[in-house]
Amino acid sequence: MKNSVGKRAQRVDGLAKVTGCAKFVADLMPGGALCAKILHSPHPHAEIVSIDTTAAEKLPGVKAVICGRDYPLHTGLYHVDQYMFAMEKVRYVGEPVAAVAALDEKTAAQAIDLIKVRYRKLKPNFDPIHGMKKSAPLIHPNLHKYFHVSAINPVPHTNIANHFKIRKGDPDSAFKKSFCIIENRFHVPQIQHVPMETHGAIALAEQTGRITVWSSCQSPFTVRYLMANCFKREIGDIRVIAPYVGGGFGCKAGINIEPITVALALKCPGRHVKLILTREEEMYTVVVRQACHIRIKSGVDRTGRILAQENEYIWDCGAYAGYGVNIVRAAGYSICGAYNIDNLKGDSIGVYTNRPVGSAFRGFGMSEIHWAIEQQMDILAHELGIDPVEFRHINALKPGSHNATGELVTVNTGNIHKCLDQVAADLGWGKKLPKYRALGIALAQKAPAMPNNATSSAVVKFNENGGVELLFSGMEIGQGVMTAMAQICAETLEIPLEKVTVVGLPDTDYSPYEWQTVASRLTFSCGNAVKKAAEDAICQMKIISAGIFKVRADDVVYKNGVFSHKNKSIELVQICMGYQFTDGHTVGGAIVGRGHFTAEGCINCDPDTGYSPKPVANWTFGAQGVDLSVCPETGRITIHKVSCTYDVGKVINPLTIEGQAYGGIVQGMGAGIMEQLIVDEQTGMVKNPSLVDYKIPTALDMPEEMTASFVETAQLDGPFGARGVGEHTMIPTPAAIANAVYHATGVRIMDLPVTPEKILSGMHGLDFDSKDSNAKPEQPVSRSKKKRGRPPLYAKKWDRVKR
């Protein structure tokens, strides 16, 4: 019964969620649980002179007070640069300094107020470009001593946490041959994930030495592994249970608040310690998306072919870069987006600053760099008088071209040109529109940014009725992994979808291993593991049937739940629990299939040139287009339509993939026109740490219309040809909006987000920053006049050298 993959199946977790039965961490209420609270640093950069916890400890109802000296332990995934609590110094406002566990919330809050910390303020730095200079204060003086994985290249005795280089071809001579050279700078601010569920964790330390953690996390096994390292325990001493997660978008990847709850629990054995972050804490004390300063210089010939390009990404990693260094790497090997450029100089540099910690965010660096790449492509097209769609067709990767790291693109890599044409058609590209209304388009490419050894596993367990329980540890964070895995399992086993019971929600004691639920990698990686587990089960049953049929296993055919050889056949249900002959003797037994998957042949990039014949497991390409209008009076944007097309290899579930597309578009739109975490550069405080002043789109803000369509160029090693798309859906949106705004108004906004203020500044030459009470028209600032620094709100001209 091969009809599960591609089916518009309803979510297997839907019923639990619409009835309110689905339990999230905060919904678990173990009896007598202690309430935990964190004391956060009020300074962006300061030495800790002393911490006095005595008054807090004496407060009745307080069960534990801990700070750095109690647990001088490091955590971190790729680059181990962070202590559980700030030790010698604090590096951002909001950094955990101490924590308490108390009988109730009020007492915990009072105890926090009683902890006395003396600080000696240090000069903070909020600018990564300044941070690269010798004169900048060192935020991590011991950078050279930190452990990091091999794919990361920190620069000792600087603030540079990772520097990824691409050196391909000969850009210098190619620039000389160029007909036209255009250079631009762009900026992306820090933004927040805003999962509707804030981070939460519950820890229990028993006298047996066993530690159990319930956590709202994307990566239970990684949490367990890092925690074992951090607390110097055997991995088997730690059990991580992950209930439903109320949205991740990257902020619950790796390890976050879990060690704090464990550290407290170790001080109060036998009692659960529960920590649920407030929305304010969520906004800046855990992780945010990195900011980025971007410079792109492109040289093109008369026909519109890009001959050479320099891409420079200077990432503001914030105070710690344990995860962020890998975003720097991902931006490095994807340096020029989905384009075929033979001569490339690329630098992706991650710099420590005293801002909130930058980390994974849906798109993992791609939304940030595409903000610049896709505007640069439009600018080049405009300058050469070539249609932006046509310009992209000229330059986008196609079979035979080599991407930034030198990897060969084949017919199986994915077809970006089809995506581009589909979106252009959906939007009616070229149609006549009223004044101040225009279309904009942008491409996207992304690969799963994971270590080359990231692995997935799955178990298929048969029951008496010929159905299965499917076990894996991909986290259901809303993307629909439980449903997709069930479909892949049912399709492979050729049984009805209803016969598959998904045992999602991993428990590291019982569930098979999964590296992390990140990188849009689950459909591909976990999906392969599930498929292999199902195949393994069939293979086992073929061997048993072969014994019964007295033939070789290769001669047994399996189809639609029946094993057969010529005219002999056995139904799956007769064999999955052991086959009983008429005389009663039985062969075989309960079938358990197991499968694992690790992407094959991925090679680390060369540290000097970035070269790798296969830097990543696969690529997903796509395109997005926007139809919008701008009110010339107020600068307000109305988005009429957004269309997207992605080459996903194979659509496993149309219903859930459409959900990913629409959700990604609206999240991308939020980043594009309204979201920005604002840090006060005097105090280091985040000025908008609430949903009152950090706005995400509501139902009234969404585009009037959205369409999603998919191209299916099979991924050769993907399950049924599938590759990931969860993150990609928000990558091109901001740039597509900016391109449309340019076409509608003539204003090119290079500093995300695209706000009415910036549009009006550009359209009417108004300077809203003037101290003078009335905005006065002013000549727009040409980029060429400014040296490196923050780009202006808008630019009407760009650096251009015509040859």
Binding site: Y244, G663, S690, L700
Partner: protein, 157 residues
């Protein structure tokens, strides 16, 4: 610690309880009544995850004191399938893919329920206006709006 006695109806059942005067209705529902379907997303009336129906109206339970519910009729997400049969909204949410992570879903359903109770045939614009106070970070709202529209009297059966 001040308490007051409140008599109220919760999901059709009448109850009397002593409640702390500083306790919000949200905390009361979750921690005293142990109805954890209702979620806390912000605690300050900005996200809508805690929406319940109070005396027929959608309200943020984080913005109501438990002390205020004396004499009130409260419905939480658990009431929708209380009769043993799923509410049409619940079915349509599943059918249209209006659920992703599920954290906003209970509040979203209760707002939708209150809307359809007061306006059985809302336009798309009315649906958007009604759910504008329910933030969803996953779905982009499109499938939620379709589900609500399909649940309305004018929607297909």
């Amino acid at each position: 610690m001040n308490t007051v006695s409140v008599t109220f109806t919760i999901n059709g059942e009448k109850e009397t309880r002593q409640v702390r005067t500083d306790m919000t209705l949200l905390k009361f529902i979750r921690e005293t009544l142990l109805l954890t379907g209702t979620k806390e997303g912000c605690g300050e009336g900005e996200c809508g995850a805690c929406t319940v129906i109070m005396n027929g109206k959608a309200v943020h339970s984080c913005m109501v004191l438990a002390a205020e519910i004396d004499g009130a009729d409260i419905q939480t997400v658990e009431s929708l399938a209380g009769s043993g049969e799923l509410d049409k909204l619940q079915l349509k949410f599943m059918e249209h893919g209006a659920v992703q992570c599920g954290f906003c879903t209970p509040g979203m359903l209760m707002t939708a329920k209150a809307l359809l109770n007061s306006n059985p045939n809302p336009t798309k614009a009315q649906i958007k206006e009604a759910i504008a106070g329910n933030l969803c970070r996953c779905t982009g709202y499109k499938q939620i709006i379709a589900a609500i529209q399909d649940s309305s009297r004018g929607g297909r059966k």
